[in-house]
């Protein structure tokens, strides 16, 4: 029988190996599933994992998909490290998209002449404000009334979703849109500038990478960042050192909310160019998986975002090329996180054979 024995110190090796083993398990599950569905597993994996990486256009699409994931996951990594459970990044993403999209809509309908490079920072700011507003609701209710932040931030996702739906079915609906629930197409000047002409990848991707570097500096090279991180593994020590749990709660919620909101605004004024009821493809939830797979590390979040973006594009390709439901992406995302949590046990424990 195998028994788990606590290690005297966390294993650094397994901390790095665990996501790789989890990924291998997910790939094995994927191959089995393809075979069980009567598809050639080799071809299935090729379409699912390699096709999203072949060619410049595919790579730019990958970066485009990874952008919102990186931004959301950066904030969540910080929050989870500080033991603050913001599960509502999806809602903060949506409100950021609403505020950013609202700004673009205002410029469009008023016919304001704007410079694309001046509008870009305004859009980012609008998204950040929207995300922060939504995040501060959960932070306030936790701070003032001790209401569970997991459940409150989750409930706010449904509220944000319904609010967006009301806007695009109601006051913000395109009058000339044949009654479809969507806004008018935003003016070209409000669209996020693209990096390569003809490709959808925009400068938001560069912003996300910059954000990852900034988050790394904040987490590991500033006193304030360290204050936040101590509260996670050692709340008593943090209290003793005079680091406030309230400051950690508010600052992590506001930062993660702002980042999710920016992601939403970039998505709306980037590839979409209008508001619809389906602004997010579950980026806020997928970012939770990204944060964990990326070891709650800013640079890990970038790598993990590319993995999840691969799954996402792979799922779309599996639908068009293999006739499988695109929802297969969600299955693999879930398997990846469950496998990762199981593998993470080996960081703190060592398996031992015992006689009985």
């Amino acid at each position: 029988m195998i028994r788990l024995e606590a290690r005297s110190a966390p294993s650094r090796l397994w901390s790095v190996l665990s996501p790789l083993v989890a990924l291998a398990i997910t790939v094995a599950v994927a191959a089995t599933l393809f075979a069980a569905l009567g598809k050639d597993p080799v071809r299935g994996l090729e379409i699912f994992l390699l096709k999203p990486w072949s060619g410049l256009r595919a790579l730019t699409e990958l970066g485009l998909k990874a952008t919102p994931l990186i931004l959301c996951a950066l904030g969540l990594a910080l929050a989870f490290r500080a033991n603050v459970w913001n599960i509502g990044a999806e809602g903060q993403f949506l409100v950021g998209g609403i505020v950013g999209g609202g700004l673009a809509l205002l410029v469009t309908t008023a016919g304001l002449p704007v410079n694309r490079w001046l509008f870009f920072p305004a859009l980012v700011l609008a998204g950040a404000v929207g995300g922060m507003i939504w995040a501060s609701v959960a932070a306030f209710l936790k701070d003032r009334f001790n209401a569970n932040e997991i459940l409150v931030s989750l409930m706010l996702v449904y509220v944000a979703d319904l609010f967006l739906s009301w806007l695009v079915f109601g006051p913000w609906k395109d009058p000339g849109g044949y009654n479809f629930p969507q806004t008018v197409n935003f003016a070209a000047a409000t669209n996020v500038p693209r990096i390569i002409p003809g490709m959808r990848l925009h400068w938001g991707f560069a912003l996300a990478i910059l954000g990852a570097v900034a988050m790394w500096v904040f987490m590991f090279r500033t006193y304030r960042g360290m204050q936040l991180l101590v509260g996670g593994p050692a709340p008593a020590a943090a209290r003793y050192a005079g680091f406030s749990a309230r400051v950690a709660l508010w600052s992590t919620f506001l930062i993660s909310g702002a980042l999710a909101g920016i992601a939403g605004a970039l998505e709306v004024a980037g590839p979409m160019g209008q508001l619809t009821p389906h602004v997010s493809q579950g980026y806020g939830f997928a970012a939770i998986i990204v944060a964990f797979v990326g070891r709650l590390h800013p640079l890990g979040a970038v790598v993990a975002s590319l993995v999840l973006a691969t799954f996402s594009i792979g799922g779309e390709l599996a639908q068009s090329r293999l006739g499988l439901p695109a929802a297969i992406t969600g299955v693999f995302q879930g398997v990846l996180l469950l496998a990762l949590l199981g593998c993470d046990t080996l960081i703190l424990y060592r398996p031992r054979w015992s006689a009985r």
Binding site: I87, L151, M155, F292, P325, I328, V331, G334, T345
Partner: protein, 306 residues
């Protein structure tokens, strides 16, 4: 008058899935395990139950399949968190994300299919009473079974020895372990039972309440059921009461619409979520009150022999 009777009846029907899931989660949490995977387990069970009912033509086969699917999904959380010592919150969350994806994948072939709508018989003799008949006695059998379940759980928790053992494991697993109780196995049993009940709840939604399968049809009910256990301060009768309260809020939106109240549909649909937040705020205001009522080991990992 007859309108009020219909409102009461609709409240019972809408509250029952919350009651079933809430009672299941209560069993988990009384044993010290918090299962944030409720939403995912219900989704998996809803699609499994629907498929089973669709293929067999028998709704009870569907409920049974839903229970098995819910328990199977819960066993993932049980195994990971009890034997591999994973964080219960993260694992539950992972289960919910997995359940959302898995149900959408499996259910892709069942979208748009519908079950034959059954005429609900209700309770013979009582169903024809004026007012009370249409209000209370023309419900699906599961509605009455969930009330019986509440009574059975209250009796089990507070009047039986195994119930006492289960509660003590939720309060002080180390002490229970020292007394020789198999803490992890009992917790696993509680997790499986909780999963099965969430499963029946999910199957009820897709077979009786909707009755159809659509992606995302659980619509946060798993999370609301989790909030219910807090609202109920972990007592069975209050879970049932809370479930009907939320059922009533859900029905209120339809009622107000029928009355021609001019509020956009989306704002009405926000009501259950906003009420959940309100309830959490009111009940959590006093941290001491929560600490006194919450199973002391809730969410904490138990290491035998440490």
């Amino acid at each position: 008058m007859s309108e009020l009777a219909l409102l009461v009846a609709a409240t019972l029907a809408a509250g029952t899935p919350l009651a079933l899931a809430g009672l299941g989660l209560l069993v988990n949490e009384r044993a010290g395990v918090v299962n944030l995977g409720a939403e995912g387990m219900m989704a998996i069970a809803a699609v499994t139950g629907f498929a089973a009912a669709f293929l067999s033509g028998n709704e009870w086969v569907g409920f049974a399949a839903g229970a098995v699917a819910g328990a199977a999904a819960a066993s993932i959380l049980g195994w990971l968190s009890l034997w591999l010592y994973t964080n219960q919150y993260a694992t539950g969350l992972a289960l919910s994300l997995f359940g959302g994806g898995f149900s959408a994948f499996v259910g892709a072939g069942y979208v748009g299919k519908s079950l034959e709508r059954k005429v609900v018989g209700g309770i013979p003799g009582l169903r024809d009473l004026p007012f009370l008949g249409p209000a209370l006695f023309r419900q699906h059998l599961l509605v009455y079974l969930s009330i019986a379940l509440m009574a059975a759980l209250a009796w089990f928790f507070y009047r039986t020895r195994p119930g006492l053992v289960l509660r003590s494991i939720g309060e002080a697993p180390e002490s229970a372990h020292a007394l020789g109780y198999p803490v992890r196995r009992i917790r696993m049993a509680a997790v499986l039972l909780g999963g099965a009940l969430c499963g029946v709840s999910g199957a009820y939604l897709s077979i009786v309440y909707a009755p159809m399968w659509v992606e995302g049809m659980i619509a946060g009910r798993g999370w609301i059921a989790l909030a219910l256990t807090v609202f109920a301060t972990w007592r069975p009768a209050r879970v049932l009461l809370g479930a009907y309260l939320f059922g009533g809020v859900t029905m209120l939106q339809l009622y107000l619409q029928g009355k021609g109240v001019q509020v956009p549909l989306q704002f009405m649909s926000m009501l259950p979520y906003l009420s959940t937040i309100l309830v959490l705020v009111v009940i959590s205001r006093d941290p001491l009150w929560i600490r006194l009522n919450m199973p002391a080991s809730l969410g904490k990992t138990f290491h035998p022999g440490s």
